[in-house]
């Protein structure tokens, strides 16, 4: 019993540590990658390769004066940054980081699974919590008592509702294909390699891992586009379009409260990439090289694989940001409602029919 409580206490602390360290590296990585793509140097003063730049920025923001606008709605103004941070930490809790291991303390052996909370409706939890994240943006925009943040807030609520529908619909075929809503079960269902009943195709696809991205490529595309819109990244960053809205919903925020929004945005981005990797790229699955690598490194390989996949997706995020111009507002809405949602509905229908035939045979046979 006491070990259970200890584990439940240690897990959130570990998540906090992992998430905050990740963010520091992530912000540095983005600045370096985008700088490289734009033929600049990027941060290079603080620490080796400028890796301590984010830390310096964070300390600067911590020490800055926090301004409370006169026309602000005080309670909501103070609440909004907190609402921004809480969901981002909660979502990280459901990402499976590895296969789990047996831990023996004082002669008592216990199975520790490397996930904050392994709930049987993990997919729904992810969607539910990410739908709560809208409130931070809306409230921040409204409570600032200023025009630009309000416009940013209104844009955010419309955008996030639209793209959440597409995101949720694109996940349904994945759930159907994996047969479970639990995140760890979805990862386990992607183990092994692809196979086919037709020998010719089988000999080709035998070497491709059984990741959801191959059978569910369209769902992956929709989910990826919708996830970029959901975390308000370029080219869907109309919420904080610098050229139109100054800073968008966080224009009036300064000091540490601004840092909280900034932190939440990067945590959300990391979460989104880790979740995309979990749903479509096999999560922590990958060769562990047991016997070749030392045992400890071999045991850590699943987590390293998940990290590599996540960083790869993050690189694509940065790449897109450095390449594509921002969408116009009506184009954004059109893409969401007239393209992504109908395509995901049709894809859901097609996957359901194909899976039905695979599992139950043709209806007339």
């Amino acid at each position: 019993m006491s070990i259970d409580i200890l584990v439940s206490l240690i897990k959130p602390l570990l998540v906090l540590g992992i998430v905050l360290t990740n963010t520091i590296i992530l912000i540095w990585l983005e600045r370096k990658v985008v700088a490289g793509m734009q033929s600049r140097v990027g941060p290079d003063r603080a620490g080796p390769f400028g890796i301590l730049q984010t830390l310096a920025d964070a300390i600067k923001l911590l020490l800055k004066e926090q301004i409370l606008p006169l026309r602000a709605d005080k309670a909501m103004y103070l609440l909004a940054p907190i609402i921004a941070l809480v969901p981002s930490f909660l979502i990280f809790m459901i990402i499976p980081l590895g296969p789990g291991f047996d831990l023996t303390i004082g002669g008592e052996t216990r199975f520790i699974n490397l996930v904050g909370a392994d709930i049987n409706v993990g997919v729904l939890f992810f969607l539910a919590i990410s739908s709560l994240a809208v409130y931070s943006v809306v409230l921040a925009g409204w409570s600032s008592g200023s025009k630009y943040p309000l416009l940013g807030g209104v844009r955010a609520s419309a955008q996030m509702i639209s793209y959440e529908a597409a995101m949720g619909l694109s996940l349904v075929p994945v759930i159907l294909y994996s047969g479970s809503m639990s995140m760890s079960k979805i990862v386990e269902s992607q183990s092994g390699n692809l196979s086919s009943s037709i020998p010719v195709i089988d000999s080709i696809v035998r070497f491709i891992p059984n990741w959801n991205v191959f059978p569910q490529f369209l769902a992956f595309g929709i989910f990826f586009v919708a996830s970029i819109a959901e975390v308000n990244r370029a080219p869907f960053d109309l919420v904080e379009a610098e050229q139109e809205l100054v800073g968008g919903f966080h224009t009036e925020y300064s000091g540490f409260r601004f840092a909280m929004f900034f932190l939440a945005e990067y945590i959300n981005m990391f979460n989104m990439c880790a979740i995309t990797a979990t749903f479509f790229l096999g999560g922590w699955l990958g060769p562990t090289f047991s016997g070749i690598f030392p045992p400890l490194l071999s045991a850590m390989m699943p987590t390293i694989w998940l990290g590599l996949k996540t960083v790869g997706l993050l690189f694509v995020y940065f790449w897109i940001r450095a390449t594509l111009p921002r969408l116009r507002y009506d184009q954004l809405m059109e893409l969401g409602w007239k393209r992504l949602i109908p395509i995901s509905l049709i894809w859901l229908l097609v996957s359901a029919i194909v899976l039905g035939i695979r599992d139950f045979g043709l209806p007339w046979s």
């Binding site: 609440l79 049987n120 729904l124 969607l127 309000l150 419309a158 959440e164």
Partner: protein
């Protein structure tokens, strides 16, 4: 003890949120109070082993419906305090009367049973996990007809909303 704590903390926030909904002057504060109530209610569902219902509650009510409420409040600009006036004659009297009756019933039940905790936490013989597959199994076999009727009802409602909101162009040649 854990059960009482797990119930008492969300219950406190449910009541707090409900009070904010009733007493806060600003419509945005009212909406956020309702979000607090709905989210805390989801926690109570989780303690009752109904994780699926809890997640749907968060996703649909706390997430989608309340965001739309907030969106409308912000868009049509009623986000200013003190717009309270009675639209139905004597509505505050009617509502307070109903409330008093409800509270009286609850108090009567509590006093009759002498603050018996077993009344609030009944011992269940067989605990059923509200998994999605269980709910789907029941919904698509025994209750498939009501399910389909509700889906038709929703489609009709959506079409009706579209027909009301969409401006049909009479003829394009006139202008």
């Amino acid at each position: 003890m854990t059960e009482i704590l797990l119930f008492a903390i969300p219950a406190f926030f449910i009541i707090l949120g409900a009070l904010i909904v009733v007493f806060a002057k600003n419509p945005v504060h009212n909406a956020m109070g309702l979000v607090l109530t709905l989210t805390s209610l989801a926690i109570v569902y989780i303690t009752l082993n109904a994780t699926f219902v809890a997640m749907v509650q968060m996703l649909v009510y706390a997430g989608a419906v309340m965001t739309l409420f907030l969106f409308v409040i912000m868009m049509i600009g009623v986000d200013k305090p003190d717009q309270s006036k009675e639209s139905i004659k004597g509505q505050s009297l009617l509502i307070s009367g109903t409330l008093i009756i409800l509270v009286a019933i609850v108090l009567f039940v509590i006093l009759e049973n002498g603050l018996n905790w077993a009344l609030f936490f009944p011992e269940s013989e067989n605990i059923i996990d509200g998994t999605p597959s269980l709910i789907a199994g029941v919904m698509f076999t025994s209750w498939v007809l009501p399910f389909e009727i509700i889906s038709i009802l929703l489609i009709v409602a959506t079409t009706a909303a579209l027909a009301l909101a969409y401006e049909f162009k009479k003829s394009d040649s006139n202008d």
